[in-house]
């Protein structure tokens, strides 16, 4: 059974007004436990509206969201429990820090879950380790630490709820290359250790290619594609039609292939590309 499934999901803003707009249009998808899902789509493709329905922040206009096979709105009083199970890290999450210490901020989620202080402590420390924060800053104010640390504190605040599905909306936006690389590798480590489902929303195709097992392509509120990452990035033309690009390395290798060289389609990383070129050179070297 998939951990998270959406059936005929639609969301319409401003029903009956002049601003009426279908943001999510009849989406059907299912995500398995342990998958790393990438969601791509240009601004206005319905990404944020879509993910906000996955943890019950928005109620679908029609269709349903199933968590472990159960409609999350079946008992709307229990919707908070859904939010603990489907953790969501918003864009620029550091703007949501509020407590007087880093520790208290990270503990906010677990506290709302009604855990006892011992459990809270355990969860906070585990989350802190996942995002690679030093224990010394736990007693500092979240407003006096560096930008990168703030970001990781905010992410730890969601990880501390120990969700079954973790959704991250542009977690690396605005970070410098060093911070971006670091955070991405931490998310990957988290995923491989916790073995839960991670959904990463990003504009950065290189990041998606490096991390995701499967990719959802959203355009005009519809799920245009849903397939394993390599297959999705083989379709550079259809991606371009919806205003997206494949990673630069994929584009380079595809252009070479179109010039008649025997290159495997769907190259995703520089290492793959390097090996591919060396393979061809090696094969030719033999004759």
């Amino acid at each position: 059974m998939p951990i998270l499934e959406v059936k005929n999901l639609s969301f319409i803003y401003g029903v009956g007004t002049t601003f009426q707009k279908t943001a999510v249009d009849n989406i059907n998808l299912s995500f398995e436990k342990g998958e790393f899902i990438g969601i791509i789509g240009h601004t206005g493709s319905g990404k944020s509206t879509f993910i906000k329905q996955l943890n019950g922040l928005l109620r679908p206009s029609s269709g349903e969201v199933l968590l472990n096979g159960e409609n999350i709105w079946r008992n709307s009083k229990k919707i908070r429990d859904v939010r603990f199970k489907v953790g969501m890290v918003f864009q620029y999450p550091e703007y949501q820090l509020f407590a007087d210490t880093v520790y208290k901020d990270i503990a906010f989620g677990p506290e709302n879950m009604g855990l006892n202080s011992e459990e809270i402590n355990k969860k906070v420390l585990a989350a802190v380790d996942f995002v690679g924060l030093s224990h010394e800053i736990l007693e500092k104010s979240p407003f006096e630490i560096s930008g990168g640390e703030k970001r990781r504190t905010a992410i730890a605040g969601v990880i501390a709820m120990d969700p079954e599905v973790l959704i991250l909306d542009e977690p690396t936006a605005g970070l410098d290359p060093r911070g971006r690389e670091l955070l991405l590798s931490q998310i990957k480590t988290y995923h491989s250790k916790r073995k839960n489902t991670v959904i990463l929303v990003s504009h950065n195709m290189e990041d998606i290619a490096k991390t995701a097992d499967k990719v959802v392509v959203l355009a005009n509120g519809k799920a245009e594609m849903f397939d394993i990452t390599r297959e999705v990035f083989k379709n550079s033309e259809s991606l371009e039609r919806v205003g997206l690009k494949v990673p630069q390395i994929t584009e380079i290798m595809e252009k070479l292939k179109n010039k008649g060289y025997d290159i495997n389609p769907g190259i995703l990383t520089v290492t793959e590309a390097e090996n591919e070129i060396l393979r061809i050179l090696g094969e030719w070297g033999k004759c």
């Binding site: 240009h42 601004t43 911070g179 690389e181 630069q248 390395i249 252009k255 060289y261 070129i277």
Partner: protein, 286 residues
């Protein structure tokens, strides 16, 4: 021969007088020519934003000097003239818009300068046209996309008839479409109107179109040169955790494996071409 528009002489700066504190800028001497497109790269806390703030007198040097168009920035009577000549665009597109309506925001700068109403109107229209926002002149500013907001910020600077635009990570908060819009606008302004552009960023691929690249680290200039020359130094760039475009990285790795490839490859097409040459040269002779 282009003349120097901005010059810094052994520029030093720190945010407090504390002797134990490290300098944020540690002896920077650079000159920027009129009409040049300069990209300043560096990770966070490398001092690049602090440097930018010296160009329009938001900060004054702790040691050394900064000259804008020959004027020492410490010269208080020329403060507003320097700010008019050197406009600064900030990172967050939401926080630098003053008015609720696009054209009224563009008018803010010339209004402060005391320009006559009729001329403000002309400047506003012209500025909006040159960033391709004229048809949005009556729109509400908060409804614009990120890329449009940054182009509006650029128009607001243009209406002051500046010599130079400094942009402090203008694309950091934008999506790829917005980034492209802003970059294309800058390239156009530099080429068509001859405006000096100083682009501060941590995206290396944004440097491709510039005349010169400066890489900063720990408050000093690490490398300076034409993009192609700077991007040759892949190992050095990686050591200072700057992100190298995948094309540059691939060529670099293949060269290390002994392939005969040119240095300093930047764009996708250049990379494809170089690889094609490599493969053709080594093709089996049937």
């Amino acid at each position: 021969m282009m003349t120097n528009f901005i010059e810094t002489e052994d520029l030093k700066f720190k945010y407090s007088d504390d002797v134990n504190e490290k300098n944020v800028l540690d002896g920077i001497s650079i000159s920027i020519k009129k009409g040049e497109f300069l990209t300043v790269l560096g990770h966070n806390a490398s001092g690049k934003s602090t440097l930018a703030k010296h160009f329009n007198v938001l900060l004054l040097p702790f040691g050394g000097k900064v000259f804008v168009n020959g004027i020492d920035t410490k010269n208080e009577s020329e403060l507003y003239e320097i700010r008019r000549m050197v406009g600064l665009v900030l990172q967050n597109p939401d926080n630098q818009i003053v008015a609720s309506i696009v054209e009224e925001d563009v008018a803010f700068g010339p209004e402060n300068l005391g320009v006559k109403p009729k001329e403000i109107r002309e400047r506003v229209d012209e500025a909006l046209k040159s960033v391709d926002m004229y048809e949005h002149r009556n729109s509400a500013t908060y409804k614009l996309s990120g890329g449009q907001k940054q182009r509006l910020a650029i128009a607001g600077i243009l209406a002051m008839k500046p010599e130079c635009i400094v942009l402090d990570e203008p694309t950091a908060m934008l999506d790829p479409v917005g980034r492209r819009e802003v970059l294309d606008t800058l390239i156009k302004l530099n080429h068509e109107s001859g405006i000096t552009v100083i682009l501060i960023t941590h995206y290396m691929d944004e440097a491709i179109n510039s005349d010169r690249v400066i890489i900063m680290n720990e408050g000093s200039v690490l490398l300076s040169g034409k993009p192609r020359e700077v991007f040759k130094e892949v190992e050095l760039l990686k050591k200072y955790s700057l992100d190298v475009p995948q094309s540059t990285e691939l060529i670099h790795r293949l060269k290390l494996k002994g392939c005969n490839l040119p240095e300093g490859i930047l764009s996708t097409d250049e990379c494809v071409q170089a690889l094609e040459h490599l493969l053709e040269d080594n093709k089996c002779q049937y």
